[in-house]
Symmetry: C2
């Protein structure tokens, strides 16, 4: 399964389809063929592995298929993988993650009905991690939202005169471009679109464009000018003249956007955070203090520390002088309305003699 996960990771992180890897083992447990999904319109991992076996003259009959995601049971652009495995005569299928996709699920049941031994949950955590954004999108019907912030240590995104290039250094910026090349869409508000005239392309260190360019999404009612860089080379431009975030996310889900990267500005970031719609934070923090200037995030309605938007740190990476903190929505991080209503508001300043010492 570790090999199957490594194969899966070779597929593209963007796109409507999940990344899947498949290894076929002979009855002695030796790998005889492998495959992975290279993106929508290409063979699924199981079909790729079966084809690889046949092209090497290996009969897949009696083999065990180790697959990172439950084989699909539906006819999409390709036939159902469950049928392909049954037809090929595999003896057993080991799966990491069950398929939550309502249109594709049922593969395990179909395989079992055909007399094939199926086990699920093998290295499930790693499988879930690899498919995190896709699983979220399929389970919730909304894209996985990653909010990127690039701030000074005191949380500023620009100096008082509006200058912000560059708070973070070249390694942090290059990293942010590799993330752009892995997502389906990048979103900004019209304020950022008009003020910064960003191109929102995914660029290599030498300034060239990555092969995959994410959809460029502008949220808000103001028009994107004709000469804007957003209309230049890069991904398609989608302007959503909309203030309802739920509607924005639904429209993106309908366009098969699984992973949306939001790059600002503060208005859009604040609205998403206030709506608890941010699944992951990418905070690039520079060892810089500004003391004044625009902040990354506006008023969230948080008045006391217990109500803070608290995330769980997933990873910390040093990028030159900067730090990238990747944090994810904490479970029950913010009080629900129910618990809020039973907590009395504590007015005024804190006790002069709080229980805990500083």
């Amino acid at each position: 399964m570790r090999r199957a996960l490594a194969l899966a990771a070779q597929g593209p992180a963007y796109g409507p389809n999940p990344r899947v890897g498949c290894v076929l083992l002979d009855p002695a447990g030796q790998p005889v063929a492998e495959g992975f999904h290279r993106g929508a319109g290409t063979p699924h991992a199981e079909a790729a592995a079966l084809a690889a076996a046949r092209s090497r003259g290996v009969d897949p009959r009696g083999t065990t298929a180790v697959v990172t995601l439950e084989p699909c049971a539906h006819h999409g652009r390709t036939g159902p993988c469950a049928d392909a495995l049954i037809d090929a005569g595999v003896a057993a299928v080991h799966v990491a993650v069950a398929d939550p996709n309502p249109v594709a699920t049922g593969g395990a049941a179909k395989l079992r009905a055909a007399g094939i031994e199926v086990t699920t949950g093998l290295l499930a955590d790693e499988g879930e991690e690899l498919l995190r954004q896709w699983l979220h999108a399929v389970r919730t019907g909304r894209p996985y939202v990653t909010l990127k912030l690039a701030t000074s240590l005191d949380g500023r995104v620009a100096a008082t005169d509006g200058t912000s290039r560059w708070i973070t250094g070249p390694q942090a910026r290059a990293h942010a471009h590799t993330i752009r090349a892995q997502v389906d869409a990048i979103g900004v508000g019209t304020g950022t679109a008009l003020t910064d005239d960003p191109s929102l392309t995914a660029r290599t260190i030498d300034g060239g464009l990555f092969e995959h360019q994410p959809l460029r999404v502008v949220v808000g009612r103001r028009a994107v000018p004709d000469g804007a860089r957003l209309r230049g080379p890069g991904g398609a431009l989608l302007h959503l003249p909309e203030h309802d975030l739920g509607a924005v996310l639904s429209q993106l889900a309908e366009r098969e956007v699984r992973h949306l990267l939001v790059e600002g500005g503060p208005t859009l970031a604040t609205a998403l955070l206030a709506a608890d719609a941010v699944d992951e934070l990418h905070a690039y923090v520079a060892p810089v203090l500004l003391g004044a200037g625009a902040t990354a995030v506006g008023d969230l309605g948080v008045t006391t520390i217990g109500d803070a938007a608290r995330f769980t740190t997933h990873d910390v990476t040093r990028l030159g002088d900067d730090v990238l903190l990747v944090a994810r929505r904490a479970q029950h991080a913010r009080p629900t309305e129910a618990t809020e209503s039973v907590q009395p508001v504590q007015p005024g300043r804190p006790s002069r003699h709080p229980k805990e010492e500083i």
Copy 2:
């Protein structure tokens, strides 16, 4: 020398004297004795190593002394180490860092005059790093100033109701206490002293006091109340009713404070930053967003990004969900008055079409 540096690091980081280690090598290059300085009033490293040799029946005559800091040439609480090495008949002395202390320097010259071979600069960078705070204090006549910040990702130190316990988690707080146990003094402004009633003690995880307690320094004109925790168990309390930061640092230097840890609040932190008097930042950053509330740093007079107070990252450590970013004053980080005066001020907002793309 690596062993000598490791020995030196066993001495206390606080206190007026530098941490020094010494290894004696026989003519074949084998270590025969070693020693390190355990703090003011105890033998210097060289004396400790010579005593260790003699206690083991080893004659130090003809040995080579490997010492992390140039042996002193002055009579302090103990006699000059240069004389002790000469009297012991050592043949050669290898030194990492030359002694910048005007009252103690001259040891190398004295040794050479006695016919002893002296080399300096061996692992000098590591030696400088180990003695960083002490060297700064001796070279500049001012304590090394470390500013501690504990903030949300958007640079807030408290929510709008003033609550701040706890933005950072238990691992970050425990780490901060180990730093307190390594410094000579902790400073806060009267605002923090009155609002938070901190104890400013160095405490272990179970709440006990570390053996070494730093001097507690309160800067500002308002009185520290009789019942304040600052007057409770812990280090001595020093109230400096003073707004002149230069005078504050001079008075601390006179009390042999080599390393001052400043823990707030924003007024004192801002004044130190604006005066470019912060040598090191310890920024504990929590994966939390508040959107409003007090910021870590007030107005620094920075209006454009090029004038930001920019530090150089020295180390990044994950502490539970939090990140500690240790950054140091960058060389020429802020424009001098001379360069400021020749740069025309760019009024208004930035160009709609800046040269570099986002």
